[in-house]
Symmetry: C2
Subunit: 113 residues, 2 copies
Amino acid sequence: MTKTSKPLPAASLHIVLALLDGELHGYALMRRVGELSDGAVKMGPGTLYGTLNRLVDDDLIVETTGRAAHIDSERRRYYELTANGRALALAELARLQTLVHRVAGHLTGGAPA
Amino acid sequence: MTKTSKPLPAASLHIVLALLDGELHGYALMRRVGELSDGAVKMGPGTLYGTLNRLVDDDLIVETTGRAAHIDSERRRYYELTANGRALALAELARLQTLVHRVAGHLTGGAPA
DNA sequence: CCCTTGACTATCGAAGTTCGATATATCAGA
DNA sequence: TCTGATATATCGAACTTCGATAGTCAAGGG
């Protein structure tokens, strides 16, 4: 039993969300995650690489063995979502959309007495 | 310099977001948080009460000493956001909106192969 | 040529957070 | 009375995140 899709921890969530846009290497991921939240979320290398490994173990991402992986610096290790990972990322995105929509809704349309 | 607004941990985030709609007591909060994510997020009492205390310590919420607090069962302890808490909740909401918007945007507007 | 800086991956231990079980008490209904 | 939902509370184990540290490679300055 791998995992019945409990909400992903913050770092994992941000990584799979960032990867929805295409494969990236670790360091770029670090920057991208920050950018997606206007610098509010800063993931250090400790969180990054540890999370990346966990994500690979859970079969949500894989190290790319293709395209960008070798047209670029040898040092870089690219990652992309697996089918599982993409499905989960999409589900999490939907969950966040629902959450944001509902909370924002209560602010304007709040229960009238 | 209290805190430069690092992203709140998941449980805290959900609680302050739920409280944006008005004061609630612990147990109701537990249910509300679940509802806001269609049952995807289930917060047990361990997480709930521990987080509630931390939030009080951080001056993001306070135990209500008013209205609902006593027109209702004596057992219930109501909490509401402080000014700090509301500001932070709103900031976090905005952050999530931005994140969701950007990620979703890349999906549709992304490079069409 | 050497040295510094930034890109890049990687690991470790400490600190912080979440989980699930457990406990206790009240209240409504079968 | 027994059960199940409401309601709060606590503990320890497991998990996640953080920040420091480390080392390589490439480019630019002195």
